[in-house]
Point group: D2
């Protein structure tokens, strides 16, 4: 299959590599061209613009950093919309806001083009092995058209609904669940420490038994060890997603007080100078500071 | 082994039954005597007082409702402390507060008696099959002395520390993690519903993939279906445990804002008349009400 | 003095009337022209566009509903910027966001025009009597140029700083203080009621003695009597201002947890269908509902 | 009138001095006897025990630090209850919890004795001039019997209800209102500072106009100047009162989320080592720390 792939960060590169390995012909484009070279060496065609990549593909995947990047590569000069072939489908897999997804769908539709949202859960290593979890939303026929791509990338796909933005909302909710878990583990850890019990002991006792899911175990271990770098899910990206969720829920008219609490935690942690390079687990610095506890390096 | 067992609610009965099935001689006592009869039929000796049960046992387990019940069966008239044999060990397995556990340990110690705390995670069905998770704290020698009992009841035991109350704190932290999960799922569910996606679809998409741990799946399904009765972990008991955690953290001098948020949620839900007979999952009624959504029956 | 006045809601009409009564020549414009008639009868000149009003004035005041209205009357077709005379000053007195004010200042400046922000505290009756409190920010010379207007409208003016948006931020902070007061009185009232004391008794005891400031007394009386209509400071407008403050503080990177709590209260109250026509005091419905108490009409 | 006065801290001494100056015969007792000497010099009779002071008085006032002190001087050995003359009235003016007041009333009643609660608002200087605000609750006849004492101490008395504890609850609610005001001013101040406006400018602009009540002005000035010592209303005492309010509202079954937020603020500030010697205004250190701002000395 001819597949366009726009956005070659750590995640995008791993996904495009997976598609190449499966025998697809992949047309790649990235804002900073150097990142395309490794994929060229693996057989990808490097294209000059998103429009050009789109014009040669049946499916175009975007995996970019944020709302602005999605709008730019899609509707900017020489963007996907300018080249998307008749009948081809744009699959937005980035973690973007509900409004950005709604906008992309509407503008594609107005141009007689097809768009679906399929954001993902998982790290680059999982992407390279086709082990992502995919949240898919859009018209049934469009989702079917892109299923060969999705099947390569994910170990499981869940269909959320007919509106592309619905999948983006579910992705934001999943990230909210992760952040809530981190805050929960952070508060648990400081209580343990103040009570004279090693946080690692408590974390292992709980996440090795009743809470034996990988996210609990991984975040729990990082928080207990105060190992806040390097970033897996970067703190600033997580903060962005928290803001996107709050924007979506505000528009829906719903209070989500736990997400509000997380919003204030992000701000307090970042006001202490914790940002780029730090993992979401560094959110725990909020609970540590409020408990009068020190953390590594400070 | 001669084992005293005090407190025959759903959980205590299942645990005592497990010990009987394993061939131990179990001396039972319950405040309302009728509950002893089913165990008598299975071979237990029904004793007239906790003191009498204690006097005939090497290990005495308590599994009672709250701090007051623990103090009463242990240090009240004809309580355990009045009968505990020289060298025997009292194993407190109830979910009680840190102060109650500290008090029990101190008073037993002052009397030259041995006490350990081993609160449990799991439902009665798990107890009947010896599949509980056990959090154990106390003197090493005392924990070893009771290990034949623990091995029968639990699929895994974690040693928390030398002070019995430390295990009770970890139990309260584990329950806090459950309540935090419930609030997270509740907020997730109302966002889904207001966005026109069935809560069950979102819950399954997330707890069938990245959050694939049983508590997520079970609470998520209950919340999505608004199935708040019958109670597994009863709402009033959960509220009690939240209060015990806040009392412990207040004494330690630590803010736990997520636990505070839960505290206010419990109050708001109970002020709507939701209490006895409802499960912890009914905490979701708080998020539903604040989103202007109705729930089954109201 | 020749004064342009754009925006003739209850507040703008009272302010323009005050300026007319003081002998100024006032050139008015309003989106819905009928509202200009009462002022024409009092001597105002009704202009066809904001540009025309601006072209005939030394000072142009805007008193409009929100950010979008300010941008429209200022930079839209036939807007103020298209007519503002050389040396004349635009005085933005609306309650708008920090970004809107910053944008207005920058665009006027780029056009070689003068802009200051002077948002106000007070009700229309106070405006009619020149008893408003004015928060002023901008270049010193520009503020001096408009002082004859400010002196007619306000009983006191405070100079905040050289950047117009700074006054808008202070206005938002003042509104935050009002909303915080309302939440405080609401929680106080429900505690009183549940304790069997008439809320009016408690409110009077506290706001007639130690908290004897008019906002405490007025909001306290409304809350105690559950008199949530008609609107003085309308609930939806207050919610808008809370959002503007949160947008400003988010951009500054500061958590303001009390403002976050208010944000969630607004959403919860509005999700119950309370909105247009209700006063800010109706925020108390949040506390009432969470305490399981009824309110008038529901 | 013969008046017993138990508890001679800064507040109690000023009150007892006021009563002496008005010509009453005052029988004083204090736990640390040295504090009685200044009053002896002004004409007071120093008594050996609370019981003795009570036995010689028609009205006995208590002004002590907390619940435990009230219970001790009233029902401990040689306490007030052991000496209170037939028909005399005990006036509890301390800031104590609802349960402590309820207990005092019940035990006095069981002994056929009279008790009313009349907690006060105001500083020692106001007490010395009879300018306190008094919240009074109890049987009407009992309140009338002590009115000569109240009239000397307060510029105004409000009658709350027939149950003594109701006045204590209103006192706690008034203190809650002060703490809420402090948090509001603290958040306002950090926003100003981060926006490049001197907090003092913003505080004066708002508390010199629309919020022109003395508590706003005094706390606002302290927070703007980061003048957190010496203590007027001490931080630990304020924290104690916040806890007493939360205990009372928890018992009533009502969530008070703003009071919960304050509870967590107190803990976070105290965990930084801020405690004895600091004023309630030091609660602002929470907002400062979360905004990444420094404060005097740290």
């Amino acid at each position: 299959m001819q597949i366009g792939f726009i956005g070659l960060g750590a995640m995008g590169s791993a996904m495009a590599g997976r598609l190449l390995a499966a025998g697809h012909e992949v047309h790649v484009w990235n804002r900073t061209p150097q990142r395309s070279e490794a994929l060229r060496a693996r057989g990808a065609t490097v294209e000059a613009t998103p429009a050009q990549a789109a014009s040669r593909s049946q499916v175009v995947v975007t995996m970019v950093a944020d709302d602005a990047a999605l709008a730019s590569v899609t509707f900017g000069d020489h963007g996907i919309a300018a080249g998307l072939a008749n009948g081809a489908v744009h699959v937005g897999m980035s973690t973007v806001g509900v409004d950005a997804a709604r906008d992309a769908a509407a503008r594609h539709q107005a141009a007689g083009q097809r768009y679906v949202s399929v954001p993902v859960f998982g790290r680059p290593e999982a992407a390279a092995q086709g082990k992502l979890f995919l949240m898919a939303a859009g018209a049934q026929a469009d989702l079917e058209a892109v299923s060969p791509v999705l099947d390569q990338l994910g170990q499981a796909t869940r269909t959320i609904g007919p509106e592309p933005w619905q999948a983006n909302l579910v992705k934001l909710l999943g990230n909210f669940m992760l952040m809530s878990m981190v805050e929960t583990l952070a508060e648990t850890g400081v209580v343990a420490e103040r009570a004279g019990i090693a946080p690692a002991t408590v974390v292992e006792a709980l996440t090795g038994t009743i809470f034996n899911a990988p996210p609990y175990q991984n975040y729990g271990a990082s928080i207990a060890a105060q190992r806040f770098r390097p970033a897996g899910f970067g703190l600033p990206l997580a903060q962005k997603d928290n803001r996107l969720l709050l924007a979506a829920t505000d528009a829906l008219g719903i209070p989500v007080p736990l997400a509000s609490l997380l919003h204030d935690r992000f701000l307090a942690v970042r006001a202490r100078g914790i940002g780029e390079g730090y993992d979401l687990s560094a959110l725990a610095i909020g609970a540590l500071a409020d408990a009068g506890l020190r953390w590594n390096g400070q």
